[in-house]
Structures are given as structure tokens and as C-alpha cells.
Assembly symmetry: C2
Homo-oligomer: 170 residues x 2
Amino acid sequence: MPDDTQSNRMIHIRSLSANDQSRIREIVTAAGNFSDQEIATAMELVDEALQKGEESGYIIVVAETPEHAGEIDGYACYGPTPLTEGVYDLYWIAVDPKAQGRGIGRILVEYVEKDTRSRGGRLLLIETSSRDEYQPTIGFYQRTNYELAARIKNFYGIGDDKLIFSKELA
Amino acid sequence: MPDDTQSNRMIHIRSLSANDQSRIREIVTAAGNFSDQEIATAMELVDEALQKGEESGYIIVVAETPEHAGEIDGYACYGPTPLTEGVYDLYWIAVDPKAQGRGIGRILVEYVEKDTRSRGGRLLLIETSSRDEYQPTIGFYQRTNYELAARIKNFYGIGDDKLIFSKELA
């Protein structure tokens, strides 16, 4: 059995609960590529999802490792893109750098794709920055078969483009 | 004096007030290219702007014609794009079809550009649909020197792409 599958079996994806908030803040901070403002925005979405559930427009799942006493090592935040039919945005995904290399990011993305499909989603979009510190993230999206659908030059700042990756969910 | 300038002098751009709400609803409904959901979204932004002012993230201005007893014939809604430096979105712009051809759309766009520049904005983005009923809108953006910066295929629906127009504000 390949290593990948073995590590998959040690990761459990479940819905967000109120106890996860501080650990998610640790993860997005440790990830190292998010600005303070981005971290604040990520945490606002967690707040909204906890307060309003899916009515917030945000679905949040966490990846926990049962054999590590249920430690959470990653999370994803996604939801239907307003004013579209069947388009979903993957707003945030982050894995603790200490837990990287165990396939947690890939397991989260696969979960999000499967869940989006089961909700009638046909297209998943991910926006990211072209800055150097996002190169590993961009490589990850490419390895998980996302295509660069669009680039908005100088969006986040001069020389810092917005990249929009997309995947058709067949 | 060219007609354009003359008609410009008859249009006055001012900030949103609570009395404008029903007229804005009439305009976006009369415009004919917005779905019920889009109209509801446009009106939510008007609500938010009235309740919270610019803290809402939305700046709304209306075009009134003093010689027609201050009748409002168009409006624009714009604001800073979250998580960017100096990028603004023109979220909505609409002119009553009965008042089209008098340059109101252009006057609104020029006002938005000037105001955005004075707020330190360097890039203005406009998202629209590729559907046939938006062709006049697309033509209008092209005539006012917006460039097609990106296209997200099948975004709003199958065969209905999202177009992102942009203009650098020098």
C-alpha cells in the first residue's frame, strides 16, 4: 500500500467546532505567508461560520490526526460564490508547516472537491498571490490539477498579481 | 460648445441619501439586464452604505438632473477592494434606460475614477458578464478605455463568463 494512502487513513476531516478557533489562528500564523490583515480576515470567516453556520456562506472543515490526540493540523474554508450557479470558492486552506509532507493539504482539497460536487458545484476557484512566498502554494495547486484561469496584474500591490486557479468538477 | 459638455453641466453627482433607495431600485430594475438576485444584492449594498456609511466598504453616488426637479437617473457603487493596496472595484453602475444617451454613465464613471484617484486608488476593476444582454455595457467600458484584464469561463453559468475590466489610474 503506498505511503500516501496510509497517511490518508490517519487524517480525519470534520466540521468546525468552537474549540478549533485558537488552533486555526496558530496554523494561519505559522503558515508564514499570510499578512496580519489576511489572518484577521481568515479569523473573521471562522467567527461568521461559527455564529451563522452555512448561512454565513462559509463552510469550514478541519483536518485532525486521531493518533495525535485529535490535534488539528490544517483547515479549509470554502463556499458557494455569490451570484453564480454552481461555482464554489476555496477561500482559505492552510496546513501547519510542522505537519506538512503528510498529504494533509491534498486530503483537504480532495474533501472540498467531493463535498462541493455533492452540493451541485461544477467549478472550484482558488485565488492566490503571485508573490514569491506563494510559490509552494501555486505548485501545490498545479500538482492537484488546478489550471491558471486568470491573472489580474498588480492586484494585491505593484508586482503582486492575483492568480485565479480553477478546476472543473466533472 | 460640444453637446457633451452641455449635457454634463446638467448632471449633478452627489452622495447617496435615504430618499434615493426606491429610485435606485427602479433604475436597476428598468436597466433590464440584472436578475432578481442581482437586484437584491445591489439593494443590500445600498442598505449597508446607508447604515454604515463608508465603513460598509461601499461608496454610492447618484446622478441627478437639477432641471428635472432633481430626478435621479443613475447611480454608481464602488469601494476599496479588500486585501489590496490601492485597488477599487466599481461594483454597480446603472442608468435609467429613459435617460440613456445623455452621457450620464460616462459622467458617473469619470466621477468614480476621479474620486478613487483622490483616495489613493491606482487601479479600478469592473466585473461583468459575457451574456448578450451585457454587450452594450461591455461596449461602454471599452469606449471609456477599460481593458479586458481577465475572463473566468462559465463563471455565472455555463457559457456565461465573468469578464474583469480594468483601468490604471495614472
